[in-house]
Symmetry: C2
Subunit: 200 residues, 2 copies
């Protein structure tokens, strides 16, 4: 019972951002590694027939309110960036490239990106902006820009997204603990209890 | 700060059923009355552009799994009834009629109905089945059947649903504490904390 926790997220998901502040600490507490797995939420929306939360009438207004409230509860700096949602493919591709080239930089990069986007509210949709963030955590800017344009890295992100869909992932954050699925920031408490008790 | 908690639910909502087992106890602990307000979730789905949770690919499979898991955690008998979802308009109308005629019977009736539906998995869509449940908690069967066919009672349910929509309700369960909205069973913990702390 010491398999890694799988943490699925999209770099454009504000709830994923909030979860990213708690997931590693939860894993640590229970002696579990946490594997971060960025996916393309747009593909999920298409498969399920849904749309980004903030685009729905009523539900969108509530979710913005709830995001701010949950961020305050977590003690996490948060704002919905102007022009949200931006494309975050360069970040997701870069993350998988780092997994092959410099794995220790994966999480620092992901955290820096999320912080720039939802913590500082920066527009991070351009490749250049993403490369700047990569550079800020010690990743070679030119290598990063070259890598994320490689067909192999683009395919990798697609394959990860398809594999997630096949596993039943339809939103973010979405985590698996020994095969048990938990969707949403508001299920992290149940996930913790699952780790503590071994399930019920 | 002792206003009643508003508890919006649909008699066809399994997550509403789960919340109904906790909401009064939460209110009691913090010295708050809880006003139960059945609504027609179908009108919400139409306004928001969504559909019943269980009808979505992937999301539907997960939600059935999550419902069972949460029910076990709450220690509540639960199953998704065969043929779910059934129409539950007679129950919602009867509930509001009881508010005018015999208010002390409202919650016992609602709990008996929910238990028959999601606890025992009975088909409760027919007026007769609903009247049987009403009779089981001491409500006159004939009076119940007559009342829920009155235009005034039908209009009352529509008015309650529209008022909920205007307040921003788009799903169930949905509760308000001093104007602060909380959506979903998995937000009951935040709601409790709100009651405890007065908000953050």
């Amino acid at each position: 019972m010491t398999a890694a926790i799988d943490f699925y997220f999209d770099f454009a998901s504000p709830y994923g951002y909030l979860a990213s502040h708690r997931i590693d600490e939860i894993g640590e507490r229970f002696g579990r590694a946490v594997t971060w797995r960025p996916i393309m939420l747009g593909a999920m929306f298409k498969a399920v027939g849904t749309a980004p939360l903030t685009t729905y009438p009523l539900k969108g207004v509530y979710s913005r309110h709830d995001l701010g409230r949950t961020a305050r509860l977590f003690g996490v700096e948060f704002g919905v960036p102007e022009g949200f949602p931006h494309g975050t493919l360069p970040a997701a591709r870069g993350f998988y490239w780092l997994g092959e080239s410099d794995a220790n930089k994966q999480k620092p990069f992901a955290k820096a990106f999320y912080h720039a986007y939802f913590g500082e509210g920066r527009n991070v949709s351009e490749m250049d902006a993403t490369a700047d963030i990569a550079a800020s955590v010690g990743i070679g800017r030119e290598a990063f820009i070259a890598a994320i344009q490689e067909p192999a890295i683009k395919d990798r992100l697609k394959a990860e997204t398809n594999a997630a869909l096949e596993r039943g992932v339809f939103g973010a954050p979405f985590i698996f603990i020994d095969g048990e699925p938990f969707w949403g920031v508001d299920h992290l408490d149940q996930a913790e209890r699952w780790l503590e008790t071994g399930g019920w």
